[in-house]
C-alpha cells in the first residue's frame, strides 16, 4: 500500500476541496467539506480497497491523513 495512492483514494471522497489540499500532513477533520457522510465514505473506501474495517474511533484518533494511513497499514 502506497501513501500516494491512499491519499488519492482519500481525496476521491470529496467533491469541492481542491486536490492540492490533500497531503500526508493535512489535518482532515478541519477540511470544510469533511462531514459524517464523508467519514462514512472514507471508512467504506478503506473497506473496499484495503479490506480493513475501521471504527468511528479510528477516524477520531487520526489527526492527519498519514495517521489514518498508518492505522490502516497496522490493521492489514
Amino acid at each position: 500500500m502506497e501513501l500516494k495512492d491512499f491519499i488519492a483514494n482519500f481525496a476521491e471522497q470529496f467533491d469541492e476541496t481542491d486536490v492540492n489540499e490533500f497531503k500526508p500532513e493535512t489535518v482532515f477533520h478541519d477540511l470544510e467539506e469533511y462531514s459524517s457522510l464523508v467519514a462514512l465514505s472514507i471508512i467504506a473506501m478503506i473497506n473496499e480497497e484495503y479490506d480493513v474495517t475501521l471504527k468511528g474511533d479510528d477516524m477520531s484518533a487520526a489527526v492527519t491523513i498519514e495517521d489514518l494511513f498508518n492505522i490502516v497499514k497496522s490493521k492489514m
Partner: protein, 251 residues
Amino acid sequence: MGMSYNPFSLEGKTILVTGASSGIGRGAAIECAKMGAKVIITARNEDRLKETLSQLEGEGHVMRVCDLTDNEAIKEMVNSLPELQGVVNNAGFTTIQPIPFINEEEFLKIMQVNTMAPVLTLKYLMKKKKLKSGASVVFTSSLAGIGTMSVGNTMYGCSKGAISAFIKGAAKELAAKNIRVNAVCPGLVDSQILASGTITDDQLKKTLELYPLGRSGKPEDVAWAMVYLLSDASSWITGVNLPVDGGRELY
C-alpha cells in the same frame, strides 16, 4: 377485579422470538417470559442463544439454532414448532455503506436476513397452520423503514421499508383468520450503537440531540411495546407501524 386483572399478560401463550441471541430480540425474550409466556428462542449463534435461555424466568422455554440465510433451515425450524399464540420476527442487521459503496453481496444478505427470512417464517407458519385465531405477529421494522433515515443506511432502509409494507398486506390478509400483524419501528437502541462501532461519542451526542426524550433506547423499551402488541390488550390493533423512538420521528 383484583391483582389477577391484567390484559397485558402473556400467560398461556407460546411465543417464537427470532434474533434472540442479542439486543432487542434478547430483551423481547426476557420480557415475554417475565409476562408469563413460554418462549421459543432462535438465532444462529448457539452459545449466545444459551445465554439468553439462561436469563428467561419460568419454565418450559426452549431454543432452536437456525441460520436465517438458509431458507430450507427456516422451513425445518418452523415445521418443528408447536402451535404459537405469538411471534416476534426480529432478526436483522445492518452494514453502513454510502451509496457509491453499496456492495451487491452485502445488499442481498441484508435483504435475505431482514426481509426474506421473516416473510418466509410467517409463510411457513401459515402453511403449517401453526397460528390460530387470536394469534399476534410482531415484526421489528425500524424508523428507517418508515422514512426517518441516517446517512449510509439505505440498504437497511430498503429491507425494513419492505417489512413495514409487508405487515400492512399481511394484516389485511390474515384479519379474516383473526390473526394480527404489526411492527415496531425502533429509533437508536443501545445494542446497535455498541455493535456497529461506526459511531463516535461525538456523533452519538449529536444524534441524541434529535431525540426529544433525550436518550437512546434500551432493548426493554422496544420489548415492552412488543409485549403490548402480543397481548390481548391490543386485540383491536392490526397493520400498525409503531414508532418506539423517544420522539425522534417528531423532527
